[in-house]
């Protein structure tokens, strides 16, 4: 079943289309066989430092080659073009052309990757039929949406929380429960915690600019209430994004291959908690394919983290 359908889907995929990387889809399930070695390992090429000496996934071609040094990309450019040309000509014999990092190399990636990269400079007829690859440099085509931004700002004056709670419409203050005023504004829809020291936390915005604008509005409200509020040290502390890879994911398999980064406890939480090292982001990966990324200080970290995880997840896609 698997073999036939993968060939069919191969025909269906346009080269540019299926967003990313090559799909090595053997007839065997991933769970069964974790120790397949690529038959096309060429010794002349640098194989990626496999940081974990664990079993390799079957899906060799779908690797994030970001850890490779930059020089390699130069070497590979001519290859890539040649390969692409040939892809369009030869359709029946699947051939392997190693994906190149292309423009998608983040500086270093200490993230352990599921497979060494067997570099294959020229298209060769492989021993097993494989679907042709599209260069890894093509992004996944999915952009994570930012859902929440948490920022802090210093108003630099001590505040009388009781007076604020009394004179502001949108404030609540319950000293027995929490030692801060909880204030809300409608546009942008956010919530702020205002402490008596003058420090403020602003949450709920969907973008950095919105968070800044909201924080300024809160500061203005406090000013109007009669306090000499300033707007110092505005800093974004945390950003949360989410997206959907559109296919179900075998979490048990993922935790086996990436044990040092993942924690999957179905008794505690239905999702897998993946702590990526570079960038330092925590991802919650669910069986439905939805991914939540959190812990970022910059938007680019979220995008980078997703681009790093996408090839790994694709390796677990059951075709």
């Amino acid at each position: 079943m698997d073999g036939e359908s993968s060939l069919e889907s191969y025909f269906d995929q346009s080269i540019v289309g299926e967003n990313s990387q090559c799909l090595y889809t053997p007839a065997i399930d991933f769970e069964g066989d974790l120790s397949i070695r690529s038959p096309l390992h060429s010794s002349t090429f640098i194989s990626a430092p496999v940081e974990q000496n664990k079993a390799l996934t079957e899906d060799f071609s779908v690797v994030d080659l970001s850890f490779l040094p930059d020089e390699l990309s130069v070497q590979d450019e001519p290859l890539r073009d040649g390969a692409e040309q040939q892809e369009s000509d030869v359709r029946d014999s699947g051939f392997v052309c190693m994906a190149t990092p292309g423009e998608q190399i983040p500086s270093e990636s200490s993230m352990a990757l599921p497979g060494a990269s067997p570099f294959c400079p020229l298209p060769m007829t492989p021993m097993t039929p494989m679907t042709p690859m599209t260069p890894v440099s093509e992004s996944s085509g999915i952009v994570p949406q930012l859902q929440n931004i948490v920022s802090t700002v210093n108003l630099a004056c001590s505040l009388d929380l009781k007076s604020i709670a009394l004179r502001a419409r949108n404030a609540e203050y319950n000293p027995k429960r929490f030692a801060a005023v909880i204030m809300r504004i409608r546009e942008p829809r956010t919530t702020a915690l205002i402490f008596s020291s003058g420090k403020m936390v602003c949450t709920g915005a969907k973008s950095e600019e919105q968070s800044r604008l909201a924080a300024r509005k809160y500061a203005r409200v406090v000013q109007k209430l009669g306090f000499p509020a300033k707007f110092l040290d505005f800093k974004i502390q945390n950003m949360v994004g989410s997206c959907d890879v559109r296919f179900p994911i075998r979490l048990e398999g993922l935790v086996l291959t990436h044990q040092q980064f993942s924690s999957y406890e179905p008794e505690l939480f239905p999702g897998l908690i993946y702590r990526m090292v570079k960038p330092r982001i925590v991802l919650l990966i669910f069986v439905s394919g939805k991914v939540v990324l959190t812990g970022a200080k910059e938007r680019s970290e979220i995008y980078e983290a997703f681009e790093n995880i996408y090839p790994i997840l694709k390796g677990f896609k059951k075709v």
């Binding site: 889907s9 406890e265 394919g289």
Partner: protein
């Protein structure tokens, strides 16, 4: 713990002996007989708790009959963890749970199958506290614990069911080895078809055991017993999600059963599928492949019939026509396949959130016949406000009028004060 504090102050001799008077320890100088110190607390409270914890670990290991290996490693772990700053100054409850978590970690690392639920039940600990302590333990001590394999748990789970001939009527009793064997086959099937990933293990085990019990002897009297009654007979608690898991499992069996040639004319539904479960399990490999191939073929036929090019807008249009054509086909396996296809094509149509970078639409892939249930029945979510991201610059002008909206007028403030005064006066 019990250390004499330096030489004897009277005579300077260092010969200080521990002596107890009425069970109160005293340090007495051997030479001159002066009492150097007395009433020392022999152990601090935390040390005592430490000992308590170690004792608890030992008794747990004994109850569960673990090897000395596990007992030792859990004790070592407990020692390490107890003195870790994260756990040193915590509530007693947490420290108690810590003992259980250490045992759990040791089991995991030694590949011994056990659930957290079992340990918290044995310790009479609060499940939530156990969870928190466990996650903290793993994080703080950077432990790697391979997850428990469910297939290993099934045997012990089946053994906990009280189905010996002595405790229940003959018709209901069942040999646990047979039960466990059939149950593990069903569990494998459930795992293959996405019913296990991300779910609590125990309800799945219960559902699978029930199905196995039904199918081993699908007589009318057994078929009439529901899951809840079965658990009552077997004197086992019923976890709430177990009935949902059972329904999902039976649906999968129905889908597969339709591939069996000798069941072509038979109406397969959840109630009757137990009778054919044995056959389905025997041929499950072939049935799975067959069902998925058939599903893909049907899907591709639909794709060819409905539209030529697959563009974004058209995909949405495809939704309703696909559904219609399917409803008309009275083909085999169409009944359940329909729902899947219909729903999945609908879900693929409602790609609300993600921004697709590529301008040309990718050919949509054939959705799988077996999907995790959360994808099969997507919640009718309120359309997430695809916020047309306010083009905000962060440094714009803030209107006074807007801010004034959030500030009470002096009259309001006065009224509020008066109301509050009245309230405090009356109370």
């Amino acid at each position: 713990m019990m250390q004499p504090s330096g030489p004897c102050p009277e005579c300077g001799s260092s010969q200080i002996v521990e002596d107890s008077l009425y069970s109160q320890t005293q340090f007495v100088c051997e030479d001159c007989g002066a009492v150097v110190s007395e009433g020392l607390l022999t152990t601090t409270l935390s040390e005592e708790k430490h000992l308590n914890g170690l004792q608890r670990i030992r008794s747990l290991c004994r109850i569960l009959r673990f090897s000395s290996n596990i007992e030792e490693s859990s004790e070592v772990l407990f020692k390490k963890a107890y003195y870790h700053p994260a756990f040193l100054s915590t509530h007693t409850e947490k420290k108690e749970a810590l003992a259980g978590c250490c045992v759990l970690v040791a089991c995991r690392q030694n590949d011994w199958p056990i659930t957290m639920g079992t340990i918290s039940y044995l310790l009479q600990a609060n499940g939530e506290v156990m969870h928190k302590v466990y996650t903290e333990l793993i994080q703080k001590l950077h432990l790697e614990t391979p997850p428990t394999d469910l297939t290993q748990l099934i045997e012990s789970h089946c053994n906990s069911f009280n189905l010996s001939p002595s405790s229940c009527p003959d018709l209901f009793s069942e040999d646990t080895t047979r039960l466990a064997k059939r149950a593990s086959e069903l569990l494998e099937l459930a795992d293959e078809t996405w019913l296990v990933t991300g779910r609590q293990p125990v309800p799945i085990l219960t559902a699978v055991t029930y199905m196995s019990w039904l199918s081993l002897r699908p007589v009318v009297s057994r078929l009439n017993i529901s899951l809840i009654n079965f658990c009552k007979i077997a004197k086992v608690p019923v976890p709430a999600p177990a009935s949902k898991r059972l329904i999902e499992l039976q649906d999968v069996l129905c889908k597969l059963g339709q591939g069996l040639p000798w069941l072509r004319g038979v109406k397969l539904d959840r109630k009757s599928v137990a009778k054919y479960t044995e056959d389905i399990l025997k041929h499950r490999g072939i049935l799975l492949r067959q069902a998925m191939r058939k599903y893909e073929e049907e899907w591709e036929n639909e794709q060819k019939c409905s539209s030529v090019s697959l563009s974004d807008s058209e995909e949405d249009v495809q939704g309703p026509p696909l559904k219609k054509t399917k409803l008309d086909e009275p083909s085999e396996g169409a009944a359940s396949g329909d729902q899947d296809k219909g729903v999945s094509s609908n879900t693929s149509g409602h790609k609300g959130k993600e921004v697709v970078l590529n301008s040309e639409k990718k050919k949509s892939q054939c959705p799988s016949l077996f999907l995790p249930p959360c994808l099969q029945n997507p919640h009718p979510r309120r359309e997430r406000e695809v916020v047309a991201e306010l083009d905000v610059f962060g440094d714009e002008e803030i209107l006074d009028s807007e801010i004034d909206m959030y500030i009470r007028t002096p009259e309001e403030v006065q009224a509020l004060c008066q109301a509050q005064a009245k309230l405090t006066k009356s109370s």
